[in-house]
Assembly symmetry: C3
Homo-oligomer: 254 residues x 3
């Protein structure tokens, strides 16, 4: 904080294991990435190079190194993992991660169907070499998972070696744990957090009202992802109660 | 203008007392602020460091100085004022304004309830040292003010020393003088401008259709605020009739 | 591509005659334009300085030159053309194009009504000196063209010298070939492409679902425009099947 205020919730310290913020980079230029780090590196933990953007972004290795030098974890969007898997190019994918010096990766099945045992095998194999996050939930708004399946899949993926499981929401925030208009499925989430430690879940929550909802439910140090690069500081103010939506959440009313 | 065109409305000259444009900075980096000034300083009068973002933005004093050196007025969002008030830290707030060399500030009660006499006392006290804007209207979409109360509050705050009164709309443009879907409450606004000089009101209007509506009602030199940093030049084209929405407003049809 | 993947559709090579991407610049700063070029010049063909923004953007000639030096075609939004026409300043408009060293221009009648023969005369006259794009469709959501008229107007404008005809959608993506909520009018478009070569049409498609729809209908090398500066790389991933929405479009399922 740039000045002292009472009644500000304590945030976890970097490098964080919970209270994580993941930013989705869809194609920032090198100078934008420098500016991003200058303003946001204290409030950001993880950078996802969204979907297949890393395949066509110029100088992507240089940008990865820039982020890593700033203490940020970097990984490639799950859609890219799936793009390699569906083409039978798993080994090539691992080679790419190594070539780009990535220490983290995502295993997902949002677009393709992967037998869950096989998915867990990928997690297990990759976790020997990388920090793995795995994503649960389909990108298809018409394919809803049953509540008990959400829980079972998350638990098995954590057992298989995932550092965190990600609850899918896409960039639009309108699938998975959210309904078509971005509304939170609160019953589903209540059941999930009764059965999976909430600090092991990273919630994709690109829309402000979703962020507010999770902060009110799980506190300042909830793990949130798919945050746009220009929404990191606004999100941090929500976490600490310095924006209208969470203004009273930490006030010890006198 | 970069070239001559007939039938362009005259804009007020800087430093403006009306025809104001207020930009909301939610966390621009220093280099973004430099680029912003380069492109937009002629069309911008006031920078609001939105809600509590100034509390956690690195090098915020340097950015304030940069904006001020470019002739822009800078103030901190009203939510931050209220954050200090609810904690009983009014003197600390004034100290912060002085320390950061701010010449302008906002008094608001969008999140907390402040007795209106007390609010006017804050305005009166701060206006001895700072240029004060005060905001009318709740951030709570369920708390609508009666029309006569909007008018009375605005008048009293201006009498107490406010330079301008701000009509609350939030960043989303969906409360106060706007309904839930961002629609303008035109009856309310008609009544307000019959009773309060419109050049003393700064309308928060983040959404293009709201900007268009106010320009059509009050002309090119209406005061507008909560404009995103990348919408300043588009707004200026609306003001002078060089965008489709206001294309015919100044044409002296021949 | 930064790495090899099978089943990636072939994109046309620059300088492209089809597979075009047009970005709408609403007021990028010079440094933002440099960063834009660094990341996106391989995936961008045309820059439109949107509506009247070029009239008030500082150093606009310098920015035009920057884009042109990067191999990008630059033109001024059709609303500016119409602003000159309605003021009876056609010759002044041509002088401006020459002064700014522009090689491309747009002829449109989205805001004003121009007799179609007269519009074709503008196209014919300007095409002797400039690469002309002409736009069909009104900016007024209440003025729908009949299907046969869309086709007839497009054909005549191409015959008059237009390099491409643009199907109007505005920045909001909610008029012309789209309905009020941004939905694609697929029957209209089906009829258009049966009668006008689709590589002669540039579709304004600012919203992702519209881009997806056109890519699915017309393939990776459809001409798309009114793309925001930060959506160029995401669009390119859609074109080549590396984003969820078009993930399966090019997979030769094994």
């Amino acid at each position: 904080m740039n000045f002292f205020l009472t009644d500000i919730p304590e945030r976890t310290k970097q490098p964080r294991d919970c209270g994580l913020t993941m930013m989705m980079d869809k194609g920032l230029s090198f100078n934008q990435a420098i500016g991003f780090i200058e303003m946001n590196s204290k409030y950001t933990d993880i950078i996802k190079l969204g979907f297949g953007t890393s395949s066509i972004s110029p100088n992507v290795e240089k940008k990865i190194e820039l982020y890593q030098d700033a203490g940020l974890k970097v990984y490639l969007g799950g859609t890219l993992f799936e793009s390699f898997i569906i083409r039978g190019m798993y080994e090539e994918y691992k080679d790419l991660l190594r070539k780009w010096n990535l220490k983290m990766c995502e295993v997902s099945d949002g677009s393709i169907e992967i037998d869950h045992k096989e998915k867990c095998n990928y997690i297990s194999d990759l976790s020997e070499e990388f920090l793995v996050v795995s994503e649960v939930g389909s990108k298809d708004e018409n394919k809803d998972l049953r509540t008990d399946l959400w829980i079972e899949l998350m638990q098995k993926e954590l057992e298989s070696g995932s550092w965190k499981v990600i609850a899918e929401a896409r960039e639009g925030g309108n699938v998975g744990v959210f309904g078509k208009e971005g509304k939170v499925k609160s019953d589903l989430i209540d059941q999930i957090i009764k059965n999976v430690p909430s600090d092991k879940i990273l919630w994709e929550a690109p829309i402000k009202q979703q962020q507010v909802w999770f902060i009110k439910l799980l506190g300042a140090n909830v793990n949130l992802g798919n945050i746009a690069h220009n929404e990191i500081i606004p999100l941090e103010t929500l976490r600490i109660g310095l924006r209208g939506d969470t203004f009273f959440d930490y006030i010890n009313m006198k």
